[in-house]
Symmetry: C2
């Protein structure tokens, strides 16, 4: 039996468009001789639909569209569709109103419904907000083959693999007891660096432990801050990988199950990116492309400071949107170094993007004059530095508004963490492209980009980083070296370590306490930041929920 994996890229809420994609995939799968088509978790509405699920008419809409879809699929092709189901017992039993479900469509109608059993409610996930966990073991039979159905998280609770459980039940164990022939897992699993390796190790472990072949289908595409990387794959019952679909692209691949061998036949395996930098770059490209496309933009604008952050974002944007659809705006001030212009122009030439120069000196004078009566006698300080950044932010938004561009903001994770950025200034934008990329990683990605030819001008990589908001300013005047800062930040943000634990890894107490305090104090800025594309285990954004008016550490 041939099973087709449709690695789809839905737009959240756009049921008609998503159904069109499913029908196209079904027709292709049928042409290729498939008997069963697998689509990702919530393929009908896209993942995550978030509070759209609170609209009863949205739920009704989905149910209607699902029934219609059943009639539009090829005969003799069974299809698993991700959808939501109303929980009829919610009010009487005190349960959540919905299930996160998979519908088996066959012969023109919904034949069976399966409910997701393990509901992630941590980091960026809020499934307990909407869904009741399913309590039944999910399987169906097709042409005499008994197929176990799991949905995303259902697979992620093997205490032997993780060393602990995070849910009481393990749906895989239950399927093994029922002696299913193969297991499918329909996922919408967000990208983080190196996650695919973890997924494959886990699936290998599971396949071997259960002696059951498993196929894993993932959503692909960018949805606000989350990137879904695709990378769908399958393991045979010996724990050998027999198929892998593309990363960061729509794909449709076939795996063949042989009934007599009770296993998959070997198939085609797309290679994983060799370097983390390549993987991250691809994720960010997809994030920009999909955010722009799904919001209806074809062109993007960004400020080019001559620094490495905006250089990387420009490089990402030129791949995501096409060079001719990228406008880089240079906005020099009297504090800008000459190389800030020459470096930015070298980048513009390398990337073949459009550029424009708007000097801000006269506007700086305008604010100085306007505020003179109030500011007379005060010293140049953060207020004046921020004015410059906000003039630039205002000019960029004016261009974005006038010509319908999407403004991309260029701040990195290290800056966002310590608040080394200006709210309503350089933080402006519809999407914060590298907000989850630490500064040291910004460098390594730029170096990777330059592996064959100079994409990022070497002077941009080699000069000391500077905000250039006052004469001779350098980042290192107010921040530790980025290697040190990024290590401390990772311990704070991703590993939840205490100051004492971090000091024990070899840093000065004063430095650790200073960084801790900077992170806490910058919360008000991050709350107003644009969505930032998540690539690490813990990004600022939907998975980072901190109070502002609070004080834990002094």
């Amino acid at each position: 039996m041939k099973i087709a994996i449709a690695q789809l890229n839905p737009t959240i809420g756009n049921l008609d468009l998503n159904i069109q994609q499913i029908i196209e995939a079904a027709e292709e799968a049928f042409t290729l001789g498939a008997r069963l088509l697998l689509t990702p978790e919530l393929s009908l509405c896209g993942y995550p639909p978030r509070d759209l699920l609170l609209n009863p008419s949205f739920i009704k809409n989905m149910a209607e569209k699902l029934s219609e879809l059943a009639l539009q699929l090829p005969d003799r092709l069974a299809v698993l569709i991700g959808t939501v189901e109303t929980n009829p017992q919610a009010a009487s039993k005190g349960e959540k109103p919905l299930f996160n479900s998979i519908a088996l469509l066959d012969k023109g109608r919904v034949q069976q419904i399966f409910h997701k059993r393990l509901l992630p409610t941590y980091d960026v996930f809020d499934e307990d907000r909407y869904f009741e966990p399913g309590y039944e073991t999910n399987y169906f039979s097709l042409d005499g083959i008994k197929i176990g159905v799991t949905i995303c998280e259902d697979l992620w609770n093997d205490e032997k693999f993780w060393g602990k459980r995070i849910y009481e039940v393990n749906p895989i164990e239950d399927l093994v007891k029922l002696d299913v022939d193969l297991i499918v897992n329909l996922s919408a699993s967000p990208y983080t660096v190196n996650k695919q390796k973890v997924r494959e190790e886990m699936l290998k472990h599971t396949a071997i432990r259960a002696t059951i072949p498993i196929v894993y289908v993932n959503q692909v595409g960018g949805n606000d801050d989350l990137i879904f990387d695709g990378n769908s794959f399958a393991f045979n019952h010996n724990g050998e990988e027999i198929c892998r679909a593309k990363a960061f692209e729509r794909d449709l691949v076939i795996v063949e199950y042989q009934k007599d061998r009770k296993d998959f036949l070997p198939g085609a395996i797309v290679a994983l990116p060799e370097k983390e930098e390549e993987e991250i770059f691809s994720a960010l490209v997809l994030g920009v492309r999909d955010y722009a496309r799904k919001c209806g933009f074809t062109k993007v604008v960004l400020g080019l400071s001559g620094g490495i952050d905006s250089a990387l974002v420009a490089a990402i944007a030129s791949v995501a949107m096409g060079s001719k659809n990228v406008l880089g705006v240079l906005m020099p001030s009297p504090y800008s170094s000459t190389h800030s212009i020459t470096d930015a122009m070298a980048l513009v030439n390398n990337l073949e993007i459009n550029s424009y120069k708007l000097p801000i000196e006269s506007l700086m004078k305008g604010y100085e004059e306007t505020l003179e009566p109030l500011f007379a006698g005060t010293e140049f300080g953060v207020a004046e530095e921020n004015i410059q950044s906000r003039i630039r932010g205002n000019l960029l938004m004016a261009i974005a508004n006038k010509f319908g561009y999407l403004l991309l903001s260029t701040g990195n994770k290290s800056e966002m963490a310590v608040g080394y950025c200006t709210l309503y200034g350089d933080m402006n934008g519809g999407l914060a492209v590298i907000a989850d990329v630490p500064k040291t990683r910004v460098y390594s990605i730029c170096n990777w980009l330059n592996r064959d030819r100079e994409v990022i001008p070497s002077n941009i990589i080699n000069k000391p980083p500077s905000a250039e908001l006052k004469p001779d300013q350098k980042d290192r005047d107010s921040l530790p070296e980025y290697e040190i800062l990024d290590d401390i930040l990772d311990q704070i943000i991703c590993e939840h370590r205490s100051p004492l634990q971090i000091i024990a890894t070899g840093y000065e107490p004063d430095l650790v306490n200073k960084v801790m305090k900077l992170v806490a104090r910058a919360e008000f800025k991050r709350r107003q930041a644009p969505p930032g594309i998540k690539i690490t285990d813990r990004a600022f954004g939907t998975g980072w929920r901190m109070p502002i008016a609070s004080r834990w550490l002094k």
Copy 2:
């Protein structure tokens, strides 16, 4: 037995400060002859601590502080403290790592721990993210009186009162079966308009149904977007209210339980506000005061346009911070009407706040000249309107940065809903004071403020609303009348109604569809808005989780 209710106002995460408040309350309670002191849910760390709970050292810190606190309390005073407890079985049983708990402190140590059983995970609540529900019925005995302990949501699952259950168990029923003498409920229940009436009706129903006296303790104070209104109260076993503490203020009150009558004695009842407008105004005052105080600000600044929104925010701020700590900045443009200045100055005089005038015409010219080469040949439009708003936003932030003021933003809920506001312009601020107050309610609060004397100049109330970003602009040119708009918005936002359902209430399909589309399209602005003080059942902010790059309705 005298029971003291400590209606405390903790600062999130500031354990030392919160403990100081608890000790002061304990000493006062002891002086008044109390045998038992009740404090709100999570009184040790404040509610909601959000992702601070993900730091193991924060949890450890709380456990240590709790033990220390036990030694600092008066003898012969038992105290219930809200804290979190580590779940020792989390990893082995696949449970959440923490419990939301109440510790009974007596005789210098922790005597008992009770776990919250019903964990709200909807709207602004995320308790499933952190906590495992307790499964035991919680009670203790003190001087021969059997006292049932419930924590906030534990009380809110009476299917007779609500017509449905939202959790499987009802902790009150379990306590009734155990024949407890009285029930205490320790809460951190956020304010919404009229919620206190619902709480009291529910508690009355419960007291009568169970024939048990109940005392309800609520947190007070503003924590970012959430206001806790206090209003702690008690009902006797006949369903008569026998005590009510102050609204929107710290308070400590005593209720007396008579063992032989098995009931409370009548006590003092603070009257509720007569009008919703008074109640909302008090909530907003507390919200501004606490956000400023807990973030370390003593002064606030805001833009005064001469319109009703900024007038109301100025009035709130002058009560919250003291008139002399409020700076209103007038920033007229050539499109500003003359009355915008005279009306704003009349308000400044009425409120006795500070003011300053910064005309923006020369800065507008500066942007025009800077952008001329790019914008030549285009028509005046939204880009130019936004530039003005962003000049003002930049000036206000410059003043805030220079002098350490908290900037308050002044947009109302109707504007935030339809995107009639400028990102990085008038949306700028640390706190969006009236972001959850619909425009029609802004008017009714201003009229209430003027009940005895003119606080808000009548011309501000009577003139047609305008953004004054182009000549002769009026809100009604692009939006429906606010009575209509606010009703449609309420149906969309709070009641989750579909376009068809709203049309059925008597509106034109084109109008309803236009408003629906405006709400969806403004999501990117709201994502970057400052925290807005929640007063309705559904505010934009932590309880509104919508995708941006999405499309449901066309």
